[in-house]
């Protein structure tokens, strides 16, 4: 499902990723851990083409990314199958909670309004926010916003979801509610890649752990052995 082979990338003459290789099987959760600046987020952003890389290749959800610039159309197709949840949530500030979730199914998949709404409401119920459909994102707590962001990613029914430090911007009280949702998805067999520095969470959610250090894979293995 996910295969990264020998991916290298530099930024301003500094190597940020060095010959990174890893694999993630369908229905499993891969956690990427490591100190700040070790290249975790950069690697994740390479997986859905938000960043390019200089050598190596990536196969993900049946799509292939080569080194160098990516063709826009290829990226759009890949991103339908690969969702992403950001550290800062990045909810669309001008749309209601429900419209945040429904936008991509409407615009990208061309679903009729009724169908998109039904899908959106269903997902909001799943993340425990059924009562907030018409609220503005800015009126929600950080934990609630991140759960909406997860519902938004799920609305495209992606084969893989990428999480970029999903709880780092949250205070401890809210971390739990978001982690609970992610662990629930893992139990349901959703393929995911999670960048985190919370080892307890990684151990709970992931089956495979990759530890990066200074852009290289320091070690990787089953979660139970690694952490």
């Amino acid at each position: 499902m996910i295969s990264v082979s020998s991916v290298s990338k530099s930024r301003a003459h500094v190597r940020v990723l060095e010959e990174v290789s890893l694999a993630g099987a369908e229905g499993t959760v891969t956690a990427i851990v490591g100190p700040s600046g070790s290249g975790k987020s950069t690697l994740l952003r390479c997986l859905n083409g938000l960043e390019t890389f200089e050598s190596g290749g990536i196969d993900i959800a049946g799509h292939r990314l080569e080194a160098g610039p990516h063709a826009p159309l290829r990226l759009e197709r890949l991103r339908r199958d690969v969702g992403m949840v950001f550290q800062q949530f990045n909810l669309f500030a001008h749309l209601s909670v429900l419209d945040n979730v429904c936008l991509a199914p409407r615009v990208v998949l061309g679903l009729p309004a009724a169908e998109a709404h039904a899908r959106g409401r269903d997902l909001l119920d799943r993340v425990g926010l059924g009562g907030f459909a018409t609220a503005r994102p800015s009126t929600l707590s950080g934990g609630q916003q991140q759960r909406v962001a997860i519902a938004r990613a799920l609305a495209m029914r992606p084969r893989v979801i990428l999480f970029d430090e999903p709880t780092s911007a949250l205070d401890p009280a809210m971390t739990g509610e978001v982690q609970e949702v992610i662990v629930g998805l893992a139990r349901g067999g959703q393929t995911m890649v999670v960048v985190t520095h919370d080892h307890a969470f990684a151990k709970q959610a992931a089956s495979w752990v990759v530890e990066l250090d200074a852009g290289r894979v320091a070690r990787q293995g089953p979660a139970a052995e690694m952490l």
């Binding site: 992403m84 500030a93 419209d99 936008l103 018409t134």
Partner: protein, 511 residues
């Protein structure tokens, strides 16, 4: 954001009223003050052109014209030096008592002016001349009584001139009167085929005839009247002294030889102005009568102001937004082109752009109707400002919003349309609203290309009736009646945009 030196925005109108009411009336300089100062300040508009007052062709810093020489003679006769004061022609009388002692610039002797100012004895006799294209209709003045081959005749005049009053007061003529700010603008427009004819003082056409080879005088000069030296109402002794001076200049032949030097038929001039008939002053009408006459005209012009603003601004916003998106996200080859066009539109005066659209395009065979030229000009000019505002708005949307949209599989353009632009529009709502109000007032610049809106109409009416303060109040009230609802409307719009609605949130009940 005032881009025109000429428009008089509502706030200024209101201020003018307050000043006029509150300030103690300054008394104008009487004869003794002019003599002790040793200078006679005379006002004219050098843009008005020849043969009256115009920059000398060989040295544009020097003014020449028969009125320059007349003013010099007059000052010498009074024993003082002449000093020129520039002003806009239709507002020259406003300078009296403030910046000038007298106005010498083809000011026709009328009953209204007799009532409101001191008018000297005539120093020049003019007639009106109809001018058309060679080999084109109309070929006689009488032809104006029936519609031409293209419907009503379009005849250009100098706004506020005797020619305009003549045409507007004649009933039973199939004529649309088009007012211009410059004397020869109308000749240009006849030459390029936009107008059927122009009506102007005969001496002006005689002076410029060589420059317009395609034009000819239609019929003999007719109607006509006299030019007078205007001075303030409260300077009877200055006015009497001017009369005496003119009398002496007529008697000893100096005025005749002046006119002969300018090819203005000195002998005939003398015959006409020596025994000019007295023009009786007009009676002052009540405010009610004034309002009955002026209000319909003012209301119609207010409608024009609203029309110009409401048609041009949406266009400006649409073009501005497209340019902003193009400059920020468009193909790299397009970006410098758009940047240059924005700088050109922003860096040149709106007045010049309107002139180019209206007076230059006909020269390459593209004659736009004045209203269309005005709307396009306003829209293009403001689109440059709007595009910069929207560019700032697009930059103000956090980068994460774009990345989140792309990560959901939206294309760049879908992300722009559904995520970035809607947010940018909300961010820039306040500056865009204030630009709308600025444009609303800038519509007054359009009078330069014959579109008469509220400010111009006020100015013409105020000067023809002499009721400057009352009409300013009425005009200010009209502006307020228009801008108030606009402000409420834009606030409503702003509020509506604040609500979290998207392309799919239609009547969704809260759960």
């Amino acid at each position: 954001m005032a881009r025109s030196p000429f428009h008089l925005p509502p706030a200024a109108l209101a201020g003018l009223c307050c000043l006029a009411i509150a300030a103690p009336r300054l008394s104008a300089a009487e004869l003794d003050e002019v003599l002790s100062r040793g200078e006679l300040v005379w006002a004219a508009d050098q843009e008005g052109g020849g043969p009256h007052v115009f920059p000398a062709p060989d040295d544009p810093r020097r003014l020449t014209g028969f009125e320059v020489e007349f003013a010099t003679l007059l000052a010498e006769e009074l024993g003082v030096k002449p000093r020129f004061q520039q002003g806009q022609w239709d507002r020259l009388p406003l300078l009296l008592g403030r910046a000038a002692d007298c106005v010498i610039n083809g000011i026709e002797l009328t009953p209204e002016r007799q009532r409101d100012y001191r008018c000297s004895r005539p120093y020049f006799a003019y007639s009106l001349q109809l001018v058309g294209r060679r080999d084109a209709l109309p070929d006689a003045v009488e032809k104006l009584s029936a519609a031409g081959p293209g419907g009503r005749w379009r005849v250009g005049v100098l706004t506020g001139s005797a020619a305009e009053m003549f045409l507007r007061s004649r009933h039973g003529m199939e004529v649309d009167v088009v007012g211009y700010d410059g004397t020869i603008d109308s000749l240009e427009q006849v030459s390029s085929g936009v107008l059927d004819a122009a009506l102007l003082d005969d001496c002006i056409f005689a002076f410029y005839a060589d420059r317009f080879g395609r034009l000819r005088a239609v019929g003999r000069p007719f109607a006509g009247g006299f030019y007078t030296v205007l001075s303030a109402r409260d300077t009877p002794r200055l006015s009497a002294a001017i009369d005496e001076c003119i009398g002496r200049m007529i008697a000893d032949g100096r005025l005749k030889s002046l006119y002969d030097r300018w090819d203005l038929a000195g002998r005939q001039q003398m015959l006409q102005i020596r025994d000019a008939t007295e023009v009786p002053p007009a009676t002052r009408r009540s405010f009610g009568e004034l309002l009955r006459e002026a209000l319909p005209l003012l209301l119609r012009s207010a409608g024009m102001t609203v029309l110009l603003a409401c048609l041009s601004f949406p266009l400006a916003v649409a073009v501005g937004l497209a340019v902003a998106v193009g400059r920020t996200y468009g193909p790299p080859v397009l970006r410098p082109l758009l940047a240059v066009s924005v700088e050109v539109l922003r860096g040149t005066p709106l007045m010049l752009q309107l002139y180019a659209l209206f007076f230059l395009l006909p020269k390459i065979g593209l004659a736009l109707p004045a209203l269309l030229a005005a709307i396009l000009g306003l829209a293009l000019n403001y689109s440059a400002y709007e595009s910069e505002i929207y560019r700032a708005g697009l930059k103000a949307v956090p980068a994460g919003q774009f990345e989140a949209a792309l990560s959901l599989g939206l294309s760049k353009w879908q992300a722009l349309r559904h995520v970035l632009v809607p947010q940018a529009v909300r961010i820039v709502m306040p500056p865009v609203t204030s630009d709308f109000i600025a444009l609303f007032k800038d519509t007054s610049v359009c009078s330069a290309i014959t579109v008469i809106e509220l400010t111009k109409r006020y100015s013409v009416l105020a000067l023809s009736t002499g009721r400057i303060v009352e009409l300013a109040l009425v005009t200010a009230v009209l502006y307020l009646c228009m801008s108030w609802p606009l402000a409420i409307l834009s606030r409503w719009f702003e509020r509506r945009l604040e609500q979290p609605t998207g392309p799919q949130a239609t009547g969704e009940p809260a759960t």
